[in-house]
Amino acid sequence: MSTPLIETRNLKKYFDTLEGKLHAVDNVSFIINKGKTLGVVGESGCGKSTLGRTVLRLLEPTDGEILFRGENILGYGTTQMRNMRKKMQIIFQDPYSSLNPRLTVSEIIAEPIKVNKTITDKIEMENKVNEIMEVVGLSSRLVNAYPHELDGGRRQRIGIARAIILEPEFIVCDEPVSALDVSIQAQILNLMMALQDEKAFSYMFITHDLSVVKHISDEILVMYIGQSIEKATSEELFKNPLHPYTQALLDAILEPNLSGRYKEKKVIKGEVTNPINPTPGCRFAPRCPFVKDACTGRDLELKEISPNHFVACTLFD
């Protein structure tokens, strides 16, 4: 098996707050191979966005390792890291706040080239921008338009164009379609999948929308208050969810048909608890219908229960 493109080992990101240490990402390990998509799902506060930014060192990890093609990038200095950034990019969630309102479409897309000085000839740069605009489905007449003149779908295409112009290998996609209408979401997802087919991008696709994640991911990592609680291929996770939280998430999906309408819903009580100074143990325990003593006291690790299906739960000890 060749070296994975991206690997994290026991990655941690904690924040200092007035009330104590906030465990945003706690001991997360995963692998993403070339041309593949890892979906990261979980609800608000599970740490998925923080994970995405930490992997790119937009936030400095508290502990653990991040390997790009087998090399630990945590040792890299500023220049080396800037060089790495050509290969590791990000698409943000909000197409309204992630674009500089004072730059035109072409200026925004050209910015990565200018910053990294990968092309210095003006005409060549213009051609590259036009080429990428066509690839993402932005009309050339928008070259001098400003973001505020465009709708969410077009703005997100600008975000995608900006992320791919340096031909990266790995892209963190932080809820890239959540802010868009359903029919525009579909257009953007199709675009992202076509780009992946053509250019072999690896994606870390962060979302809370389970139907979207199933569609685009090869493997899925489920997070809950900073901890990884289950990891499996997309198909396996939906067919056979093991962790009670994963089951609750899948149960909560409302499909656009009448099959679930008269079924009794399993409502999990309670709210997502505080990640500040958490006590050792499974953080889902307070809400879990199957909780037992073994669930608290020590942090659980992901264990392989069946080929390539991992879960962190005492039900499988």
Binding site: D151, S183, A186, S211, K214, N257, G260
Partner: protein, 328 residues
């Protein structure tokens, strides 16, 4: 079927600014019966929120104009009602839940005070201790501990804040609840809690609801009837079975269903609707959807479609030239 609670006939609403006139609602016809939940589905810019604001007569002053039509709520002519009469109706006969629970609560009042405020305005007959008791009652009904009524909104999570908003909307037992994307900002497991709550309250209080959403899963779960809106008008409307199990649909409705990733199907590519919602300052001629329609015919570019009834009981209607000759 239960009697009519809300009737909207030929509503036309514009937003008028110095630069342009936005044709937000263009000939809207809608009925909601007592105790019924009507889903109003459509994408951004279709005019759904404008519809709700028109019913509440909360359109922005001077900019939002009701140009034509009538809105009859529980026998009251809303459009010709004076502001002082509307104040008695809002929160009492009809209530609204806005989309974002983070921003629709007053940050400097306790949640108990905010719920009490609704009672103080509409139930002048109630004494202080009666109001306090009623606040406790409604908090329990929405699953919040009355012991927390002296806390402030920021001390609660999104799901809990939405419950406070629901409590405020229902405390006077309105006949109609307008819910504008009530669960969009919430996590999916919290959404389940809130929708189950709303279903329970609907059954208990027989409240009718206009549920505005773009989420067809939510519609399938809680609505009795569905209206699909595009460029300011209803282009398809029917009972829940007509919309989810019927064979005939407006091409836009088909497009909406086709855009959603289906958990059961293995399709590699989704089927989005090409193009975008039309510019409401410059709507296309004929059928407003014709530019994006895969089944567009010449007639569609010139003539606006009439409402065609798909079944004998007239429960399922589609505004599309494809169904002009349908005979059942």
């Amino acid at each position: 079927m239960a009697g009519k609670l809300l009737e909207i006939n030929n509503l036309n609403v514009t937003y008028e600014t110095d630069e342009a006139v936005v044709y937000a609602i263009n000939g809207l016809n809608l009925t909601i019966h007592k105790g019924e939940t009507l889903g109003l589905v459509g994408e951004t810019g279709a005019g759904k929120t404008t519809t709700a604001l028109s019913i509440m007569k909360l359109l922005p002053n001077k900019v939002g104009v009701i140009k034509d039509g009538e809105i009859i709520l529980d026998g009251i002519d809303i459009i010709n009602s004076a502001e002082q009469d509307m104040r008695k109706i809002r929160g009492n006969t009809v209530s609204m839940i806005f989309q974002d629970p983070m921003t629709s609560l007053n940050p400097i009042l306790t949640i108990g005070d905010q719920i009490a405020e609704v009672l103080e305005l509409h139930r002048k007959d109630m004494k202080r201790d009666e109001i306090s008791k009623r606040v406790d009652e409604i908090l329990k009904m929405v699953g919040l501990p009355p012991t927390r009524k002296n806390e402030y909104p920021h001390q609660f999570s999104g799901g809990m804040r939405q419950r406070v908003v629901i409590a405020m909307a229902l405390v006077c037992e309105p006949k109609l609840l307008l819910a504008d994307e009530p669960t969009t900002a919430l996590d999916v497991t919290i959404q389940t809690q809130v929708l189950e709550l709303m279903k329970g309250l609907k059954a208990k209080l027989n409240t009718a609801m206009l549920l505005i959403t773009h989420d067809l899963g939510v519609v399938a779960d809680i609505c009795d009837r569905v209206a699909i809106m595009y460029a300011g008008k209803i282009i398809e409307m029917g009972a829940i079975e007509d919309i989810f199990e019927g064979k005939e649909h407006h091409p836009y409705t088909e497009g909406l269903f086709g855009s959603i990733p289906d958990l059961k199907k293995e399709a590699r590519r989704l089927n989005p609707i090409e193009g975008l919602m039309p510019d409401p300052t410059n709507l296309p001629s004929g059928c407003h959807f014709h530019v994006r329609c895969k089944k567009c015919m010449d007639k569609c570019k010139l003539e606006e479609p009439v409402i065609n009834s798909i079944n004998l009981d007239n429960t399922h209607i589609i505004k599309c030239h494809l169904y002009n000759d349908i005979h059942r």
